[in-house]
Amino acid sequence: MKRLTISTQEKLDGYLFILPWILGFLVFYAGPLLFSFVVSFCNWDYLQNLTFIGLKNYFKIFSSDAYALDGLKKTAIFVGLEVPLQLGLSLLIAYLLTQNIRGTKVAKAIVYLPAVISGAVGGIIWRYMFNTQSGVLNYLISFIGIKPIPWIDDPSIALYSIVLTGVWAIGQPMILFLAAIEGVPRNYYESADIDGAGKFSQFIHITLPLISPTIFLNLIIVMISQFQMLAPIIVITSGGPVNATRLYSYVEYTNAFKYLKMGYASALSWFMFAIILLLSLILFKSSNKWVYYHSERGN
């Protein structure tokens, strides 16, 4: 109450404390991003001078670059599969881990484990296990009578195999779900028990609405990260076989760092950013309808 006016000294100290971040933000984020936005309207192969070419880079995405549009379609399929699979499975596992049984702590650690393994190592072990002739996956599925699957050798299957490796790495959304489910007040379930509601109905009518803010958070995080998914592609398939896994992010990566077409690659990256931003905005708008904040203050 005493400190209604902020002293000049405090303001100055405040800026001094956050100065490292302000500098870092200007030099490593804002400046470069602004520059790349300008470059996206230029022709620049990194060695020669910049020449302004207007919207040509952006037109190229839709017209002369066969890989970019095709990659965008593949990314759409990939994200469309990965988001519901990752969210659904991590929610299911988180629910399983909150049941009153032994061993959930160990299982939690095991399910999270892939998240501490690098994209390179994770990719390599999957690539090894995917081997059609000698891989352990085909050996294991032979026990239940499934014939060997050419996981990453067949262009019509490879993309779905990559989806599978993503489903393996759901530690982070699972942990967020777990914390949210544990945060649901016990007495909600107790009164539902008295009313005779079954476990399934309790999950649908109590758990799901109460953890909807976490569902929303995970939806945003997983969607953004899956749009950018790149490391497993580089390590496992390098975009092959026959371009089957040449996702948009891989097209962008090769244009930037293999062909050094920085102008075009910048345009590709800004286009992707615009799509992610638009989808996030739509999700945010829709969240009023289905995300339920149960804070007492009434958000």
Partner: protein, 280 residues
């Protein structure tokens, strides 16, 4: 009636345990497979059907990985990066976090919103301009692009420190201000000693992030003398004459440290991710 009820209950339990064990096995399989194949020796790698249980034991794969593929050098390189990444991220983010949590200045909430928003900037949007910047500065094939930005506050860690510091009673600062302490000494003498939990959390998170970073080293490092662990393993894959045994040994060595750190410090890692381990 009661009899039926108990049967139904134990059947439920059996199904739950079955699902728990199945889930654990599926998620563990790839990691388990790295270790089995690593210790199986060069012969075991070609065994078909594959030995689900390790039947042979040999350190031959590890020897090859260390001698032919310079695993030790890559290890040391990753260690160097970690040293500067961990210290830089922790020091700078705690200072900035303190500023956002404790001092009032015009534009504070707007600037903090920008911090949060910058967590969400996609990697591929910022990597191209950052690459152009770092190559202009002549930082290609050095560790500087991997380390220097961390010394200017890492948005997610700033968030963690700010949240934690905001839960520390302000009376501590206030009485020190009355005693004539400067903000900087309040930070170093009063607040910093209380930050053990978020410091460990940030260090564990940054350890996992830096150790596993693959795309940035791939883009910025081009001499094999500079390769990090994950980059070195990636380059062990060649179209011809590939030694899967050595690759698995290197992978085993590369995952061992994060796995150990994770099992001993998982409280801090999982707490930091779910935001609730930081309370109190």
């Amino acid at each position: 009636m009661i009899y039926n009820f108990t049967i139904k209950k134990s059947l439920n339990k059996i199904i739950l345990y079955f699902m728990l064990i199945l889930t654990s096995m599926v998620f563990l399989l790839p990691v388990y497979w790295i270790f089995v194949k690593a210790i199986n020796g060069p012969v075991g790698i070609f065994a078909y059907p594959p030995d689900i249980w390790p039947k042979r034991f040999s350190i031959e794969n590890f020897k090859t990985a260390f001698s032919t593929y310079h695993l030790m050098r890559n290890y040391a390189n990753t260690g160097k990066i970690l040293l500067f990444a961990l210290s830089g991220a922790t020091i700078s983010s705690s200072i900035v976090g303190f500023g956002f949590a404790r001092l009032r200045f015009p534009g504070r909430s707007l600037l903090f919103m920008i911090v949060i928003a910058s967590i969400l900037i996609p990697w591929d949007v910022k990597v191209i301009p950052q690459f152009m910047l770092f190559s202009k500065l002549g930082w290609i094939n050095t560790y500087l692009p991997l380390v220097v930005p961390l010394w200017f506050g890492f948005p997610f860690y700033i968030f963690i420190f700010r949240q934690f510091i905001m839960q520390i009673p302000y009376e501590l600062d206030e009485s020190a201000i009355i005693d004539g302490c400067h903000r900087w000494s309040i930070f170093t003498h009063i607040i910093l000693p209380l930050l053990k939990a978020p410091i460990i959390t940030v260090m564990v998170l940054e350890f996992v992030r830096s150790w596993n970073d693959f795309l940035d080293p791939l883009i910025y490092l081009n001499s094999s003398l500079k390769y990090t662990l994950s980059l070195g393993i990636y380059y062990m894959i060649t179209p011809y004459n590939m030694d899967w045994g050595a690759v698995m040994a290197a992978a085993a060595v590369a995952v061992l440290f994060p796995v150990l750190v994770f099992f001993f410090l998982q409280k801090y890692l999982l707490g930091g991710l779910s935001f609730d381990g930081l309370k109190g």
